[in-house]
Each structure stands twice: as C-alpha cells, then as structure tokens.
C-alpha cells in the first residue's frame, strides 16, 4: 500500500461515524495516513478512534452550524486531503417539496460542505497538491422517483467540485467526486425500510455486480486522495456495479 504514498498525510474525513466515511477512515488508517474525523454520532466516532490507530483528532462538530465549522477548521493542521462524506438521504415526492424540505437536505448535503471547504481554503488549511473528494451519487445523473431533492443536492455539489478544481489547479490542488450507486450502509438499510423484500430483490437485478459495499467506494476515494491520481481533477467517478450499463 506504500504505492499510494499516503503515509503520514493528513486527511480530514467528515461523516466518519458510519458507512462510506467510516470505511474510508479504516482504509486510510491501514495505510498509515493521519486521520482527522468528524461526524454526528460521538459514540461511534470514539469507537472508530479506538479501532483506528491513526486517528489523530476527533472533532465534535455540527456541520449545519457555521460557528461549529469555524471551530473545526481552527482546530486542525494543514491538510493533504479532505473527504466529504457527511450527507443525508431524504426521499420525497416532487409535488410536496417545500422550503423546509429544501433547507434540510441542502443544508447538510450542499451548504455545510461548501462552507467547510471554502473556509479551509480561506484559513489556508489546504496544502498545495492536496486532494479533495466529495461523495455524490449516481442518481444525480440517473434519478429515481422520490429523489428530486437528494439528487439535486448531489448535482450541486458536483458543480461546486468542478469549479473548485478549476480555481485551485494553479496550486495543484485537485477536487473530484465519486458517485456510488446503492451501497450497503445503515442509510441504505433505513431507506429500504419502506420497501418490500420483493421490490429490493427486483431492484438489485439492475446491478450486474450486485449492490456495493462501503469498501468499494473507499478504495476509489483513497486512490483519488493519493498522488497516483495527480492528473485527475474536476472529475466524477461512477461506482455503480454496472447499473448504468442499462442491462436488466
């Protein structure tokens, strides 16, 4: 794993308490990166810290609060990488969407990530040649019924990533997105609670390689953090087990 050259590199991971964020931390720890973690569930973050020897700092932060984001940014050192995993899924039919629904989804999936990353730049916490990774969703390009708000928030973060990539290329700072299909996380399980077993089994038939596991996404995130991807910026890597091939 020295191939990736991330030993002692300082990486901030948001949404680290579960799912893709947690898996990314475990993978980064296994290859010797120094990890700075934040998330909503302190108990699970502490558990992660206990299991990952390279967690250097656990930061309790409410990413929906600007002051909390500023405290987070002030407390961490210069970073070699940022992984933005914090997010929520909020299935809601188009005709019922109101301001409060837009705010609740965009506040977490877009606003907080934009404010965090912009503040990291403003306070000079991003090293030259650093890499920023956002977690979007394949659904921003291939939507599903009930996903209007979620997919819109993901499309917005993809656009932010591309603009960031353009603005910071002069410092060799890269910004990329990974867009997974359905991955077996706690959020996935919660979302699927409203579906029948038959619906779930039928839907998985759309995935030639089956549903993904968090490690499938973490592998690509770590690649994008590493210098092995140094010529990749402003891109969106689709991780969907063949979903978008269109076969069934």
């Amino acid at each position: 794993m020295e191939f990736l050259g991330l030993r002692n590199k300082k990486i901030l991971v948001t949404g680290a308490s579960s799912g893709i964020g947690k898996e990314t931390c475990q993978l980064l720890s296994s290859i010797g990166a120094d990890i700075y973690i934040t998330g909503r569930n302190m108990e699970r973050l502490e558990e992660l810290r206990d299991n990952c020897k390279n967690v250097k700092q656990l930061i309790a932060a409410d990413l929906t609060d600007d002051d909390s984001i500023e405290s987070l940014v002030d407390s961490i050192p210069m970073l070699d990488g940022v992984v933005n995993c914090a997010g929520i899924i909020f299935p809601f039919p188009v005709k019922f969407i109101g301001e409060k629904h837009i705010s609740s989804v965009f506040r977490i999936n877009f606003n907080s990530q934009v404010i965090l990353n912009s503040m990291l730049f403003r306070k000079k916490k991003i090293q030259k040649s650093a890499s920023i990774v956002f977690v979007s969703s394949v659904s921003s390009q291939f939507p599903y019924e009930g996903g209007a708000l979620y997919t819109s928030s993901k499309a917005a973060i993809e656009a932010y990533s591309r603009a960031t990539a353009l603005e910071y290329a002069k410092y060799s700072i890269r910004s990329n997105v990974v867009s997974p299909g359905l991955v077996k996380t706690k959020i996935f399980e919660k979302t699927m609670e409203a579906s029948s077993k038959e619906e779930l089994e039928n839907y998985e038939k759309n995935y030639p390689l089956g549903y993904g596991d968090p490690i499938d996404v973490a592998n690509s995130i770590v690649f994008l953090l590493s210098a092995r991807s140094r010529w990749i910026t402003g891109q969106n890597i689709i991780l969907d087990g063949g979903l978008t091939l269109g076969s069934k």
Partner: protein, 78 residues
C-alpha cells in the same frame, strides 16, 4: 382531526391514477394491486404537509391501514 377527513385526503391523493372508491379505514392499503414504495413516500409527504408529522420509514412500514396511520399520527402529535 377527523379520521374520515384523513381517509378522504388519501383517496383524493390517489384517485387521479387509481380507483380508490372502495378504500376503507381498515383495508390494508399495501395489499392494493397498485401499491409500491413510491405510494408510501406520497403518504409520508401528505402527512407531513397536512399534519406536520414526519413519519420514519419504519413507522410507515408498521402501519397498514388508514386507521393505523391515523392512530400513529395522533400518538406522535400527543
């Protein structure tokens, strides 16, 4: 909140696309031949819009009839 009013709102929501005329308070709505998880989302959204109660997917899954939904809403609202 009257339970018949609630039933009327659910019927009105779906009657453009489906025949909901026979839907009763104690019928299992998930046994309707047109039922899918998207309809569960519509009911969750309708309840949020009309009664300011946001059901968790697990709560929606546990309620099968309009009466059970009505009871759930009232329990949450206290």
């Amino acid at each position: 909140m009257e339970i018949e009013v609630f039933l009327g709102k659910i019927k009105a929501e779906f009657n453009e696309d489906y025949d909901t005329g026979d839907l009763g308070l104690d019928d299992n709505i998930k046994n309707m031949e047109w039922w899918s998880s998207m309809h569960a989302l519509v009911i969750i959204a309708l309840i949020d819009t009309e009664y300011d109660v946001m059901l968790e997917p697990s709560q929606m899954k546990s309620a099968n009839t309009v009466r059970e939904l009505f009871t759930l809403i009232n329990n949450i609202k206290g």
